[in-house]
């Protein structure tokens, strides 16, 4: 059965810290891995990764995929209180399996 596992489950850091969120997956017929950020309401899209070793970057956020070791990481540098959210990772074949998420809290 397809599986996506995220770690840590939760994380509390101070503003300015750098964090690394992990996502490992076991998916038959892997196509892509996506990251979403969920604040109070709906998840919003961050990155889609399809190839190993190519970093995707958006401001202070970046992500990379390792298809050999079956994992992805999401890095956030110089964290701000606005980064506080649940970060979701998902992958799948024709349907998306979501991980349980990492709840990040950034303290001022």
């Amino acid at each position: 059965e397809d599986k996506v596992v995220q770690s840590p489950l939760s994380l509390v850091v101070h503003e300015g810290d750098t964090v690394t969120l992990n996502c490992s997956y076991e998916v038959t017929n892997f196509r892509s891995l996506l990251w979403y950020k969920q604040e109070k309401k709906a998840p919003t899209f961050l990155f889609m990764l399809t190839s190993s070793g190519i970093e995707k970057k958006s401001g202070r956020l970046s992500s990379i995929l390792d298809k050999k070791e079956l994992f992805s990481i999401l890095n956030i540098t110089a964290t701000q209180t606005g980064d506080s959210a649940v970060y979701l990772c998902t992958s799948g074949t024709y349907k998306y399996i979501f991980g349980t998420g990492t709840r990040l809290k950034v303290l001022a």
Binding site: S32, A42, M48, T50
Partner: protein, 115 residues
């Protein structure tokens, strides 16, 4: 201009009742989804439609019945509501479901509380 909208945003009802949640997207996408998110924020797919055709039907009680009258709308009807149905239900859409996959756009969610 809301891309994916859901109504209602909140729904409080008693056990045994029947209720519907409506979803509309104005993005011109071909694929729409229903997800259930529990209190621990675990998001689980329930159904997916592509151009009004059912493509994913997860292990969901048959009290849940989706309907897609056209590719811009995907509604969810729930019969005989149970306490365990309490959750946030998200509708989402994506350009397609094939190829390498596509980002999904989520609606604001419907918080269903069954008492």
């Amino acid at each position: 201009d809301t891309a994916v909208s859901q109504t209602p945003k909140y729904l409080v009802t008693q056990m045994g009742n029947d209720k519907s949640i409506k979803c509309e997207q104005n993005l011109g996408h071909d694929t729409m989804y229903w997800y259930k998110q529990d209190s621990k924020k675990f998001l689980k797919i329930m159904f997916s439609y592509n151009n009004k055709e059912l493509i994913i039907n997860e292990t969901v009680p048959n009290r849940f019945s989706p309907k897609s009258p056209d590719k811009a709308h995907l509604n969810l009807h729930i019969n005989s509501l149970e306490l365990g149905d309490s959750a946030v239900y998200f509708c989402a859409s994506s350009q397609d479901f094939r190829g390498l996959g596509y980002e999904q756009y989520f609606g604001p969610g419907t918080r269903l509380t069954v008492t």
